[in-house]
Symmetry: C2
Subunit: 404 residues, 2 copies
């Protein structure tokens, strides 16, 4: 006999362009199973559960759900709350009161850990519950899964951004630094490499948190590229660190740290401005610009990978199927089976929760200032179809008639 009761779906952590695909996938799939008696949406993640802020998603039309699916960011809003045992007790009180037996939590490794804790506390309390983690994160830093829903669309944004910056910088040359999100994992920054199409195209240099960032090496790299091409495009992860694991951005913020408390990486142009200043001062290059892509990377309306969309929908659906058909909890993971196809599996929560995957060594070049072809092969299918084409004039140059 399959477990009967209501399902609650929630979204945690930073939004992505396709996180609502997973939500809608889970809602529509839940409605198909008679043992799921009703589908609730908790507002603001687990906080919405303990506060009983539920939407009755059984009363959404599938037409409106399809509109929501195509909308970026978390339609059920989000939270950074991380439950402890006491918090979980409140969750179960609410679950019991509403007869909730299925819990689908869409989020990153922190959210996976939340699901793990809720699940363990449920067992301790003898409360029968299917708790499934539905993966999402633009950082692509979850273990076991080949990649995470949300990454492909953010990677596409980064690639399209560098395609444009490369052409802009060709027209008006100089040094251009693009700062990309990613505190520990460099996958998103590395996606800038897809922008390289023709010989001489940028990004010429890519710096990732996985390799220590040495300012002297950086300046040497920039000088080499600039001497060769008369310009240089650089992709930098916001999380780059020195050899001691200290974020580079703290060098600038040191004098303000006491005043402001913590070091903020996103939503500030500090790192880009710091690196631009180094290049200007040490290499005496006049035109140096830095753009920090910020929150546009995860929220920009209208830049989405169709592959990412489909997979995000599928992990939401598979979460429900796994919960109903199998008597186990877990995290839905994506497994690459060919060039390009995937399988979906259910992985034990302990293997995913609170763990971080970094870029493997074979994806980073020896000098630590670019990616390998193996990475490009890995990332390209995730960006989806119909990437913008780049056309260049190919007409021959004419002979000069005057001696100037």
């Amino acid at each position: 006999m399959k477990l009967q009761g209501k399902a609650v779906i929630a979204q945690g952590g930073g939004p992505t362009a396709v996180i609502n695909q997973s939500l809608v996938g889970a809602v529509l799939e839940s409605r198909k199973f008679p043992q799921i008696t009703r589908v609730y949406g908790a507002l603001n993640g687990v906080a919405g559960i303990i506060n009983e802020n539920f939407l009755d998603l059984s009363q959404e039309t599938s037409e409106n759900l399809e509109l929501v699916a195509k909308t970026p960011s978390s339609a059920l809003l989000s939270t950074r709350d991380k439950p402890d045992a006491a918090y979980c007790k409140k969750i179960f009180n609410v679950f019991k009161a509403h007869d909730i037996r299925y819990f689908f939590y869409i989020g990153g490794n922190d959210s996976a850990d939340t699901v793990r804790i809720v699940n363990e506390e449920a067992k301790l309390s003898d409360y029968e519950l299917r708790a499934i983690h539905v993966p999402k994160t633009i950082d692509n830093d979850l273990t076991v899964t080949d990649h995470t829903p949300g990454y492909g669309s953010a990677a596409r944004f980064v690639a399209q951004a560098f395609m444009g910056l490369n052409l802009d910088n060709k027209a008006l040359p100089g040094v251009h630094i693009g700062v990309v999100m990613g505190r520990h994992a460099g996958f998103l920054t590395a996606a800038s490499s897809v922008a390289q199409k023709y010989s001489g195209d940028g990004p010429h240099l890519i710096y990732l948190p996985e390799r220590p960032f040495k300012v002297e090496d950086f300046l040497g790299d920039v000088k080499d590229v600039y001497d060769r091409y008369g310009r240089c495009i650089i992709a930098v992860s916001e999380g780059i660190q020195d050899e001691k694991g200290e974020p580079i951005v703290t060098r600038l913020l040191e004098r303000e740290e006491d005043e402001h408390g913590n070091v903020q990486l996103s939503g500030t142009g500090a790192l880009g401005d710091l690196l631009a200043r180094y290049v200007k001062e040490k290499l005496e290059i006049q035109r140096v610009r830095a753009d920090t892509f910020g929150y546009l990377q995860r929220s920009f309306a209208g830049c989405v990978s169709d592959v990412d969309q489909q997979e995000a929908r599928m992990v939401g659906k598979k979460a429900v199927q796994f919960a109903v058909e199998r008597n186990v909890d877990g995290s839905v993971t994506i497994h690459r089976t060919g060039e390009y196809s995937v399988d979906y599996k259910l992985t034990p929560l302990e293997e995913v929760a609170a763990k971080t995957k970094l870029m493997p060594a074979e994806f980073i070049n020896d000098q630590g200032n670019h990616v390998t072809d193996a990475f490009k092969q890995y990332v390209t299918p995730l960006l989806g179809s119909d990437l913008p084409g780049i056309g260049l004039l190919k007409a021959p140059q004419l002979e000069k008639m005057l001696k100037v």
Copy 2:
């Protein structure tokens, strides 16, 4: 008898997403007229003319030209050179050597002024020349014309960016500041208003260079919005100034001005970071983020207004028609004739060259912290068709069962 000779086309100033549409429009149209014996492309604007760096665009296939047309940034590269009389003399030497009788220069008001100077010097030298300015600029700050090619696509980028930031900020609330390009004219920043779709949507506040920026008023505005919605989205032009006309960003950079020389507005996160710090410190709001959109606004591959594309193509074509069919020089201008259609005219260069159009008073609200409906009506058709839809969950909220 119509003037016979070669045509040269060049691109000046900052690139846009559709500037190559104008280039390709001018090339394809030039090929239709027998009196234009050959079509040259000058590399790097007027600098390419005096250095005789010409591509023979008669040898481009129309298939490749169509690819180039869809590619952002200036396929012929660009320059910031502004010719004086001596520079013009060099230009005519080259024009005479190559028998160039038609000059099409795609650019902003500086480029229009270049065309004006070249044209006047040609008359003084008795060199028969048709010199036409083809408008482009994301700033939309050219006089006479209803709007400029390049603006619609950049405006679309800004609108899509704020659509996403608004949803992201709803999910994880706080204050979010988006800094938009525009040194003197606020048209591009004002386009953020198109992102407002549902009640309570941001941007809640919009600050333009056309109105003096008072920090106390700004903080009061932010506090009001934050008290009402628990969050606040702000669009700020990089060019905002205090009552003395001093850019706000110089307040931060003052201590570095001696060292670095000039005040740079784009390609730095300084203004956003400065405003974020004000909000954090004075209003004691914890989550404050600033994103500076930077060069993505004018170069991002894959975000383009179809209306803008068509009009950019048309101004390139009309420039050639005007030059061949009429015996006058001038600037191609766009005139709105209905809701929504346009006419193209040829306007004397003196009316456009080196002049700047600002946002008219009827487009700015009385408090100077947002736009009017008249502006929204003006801008909406320029963004093109198929803007991303935004879907919200509409399901009813459930009754609470527990007293928490």
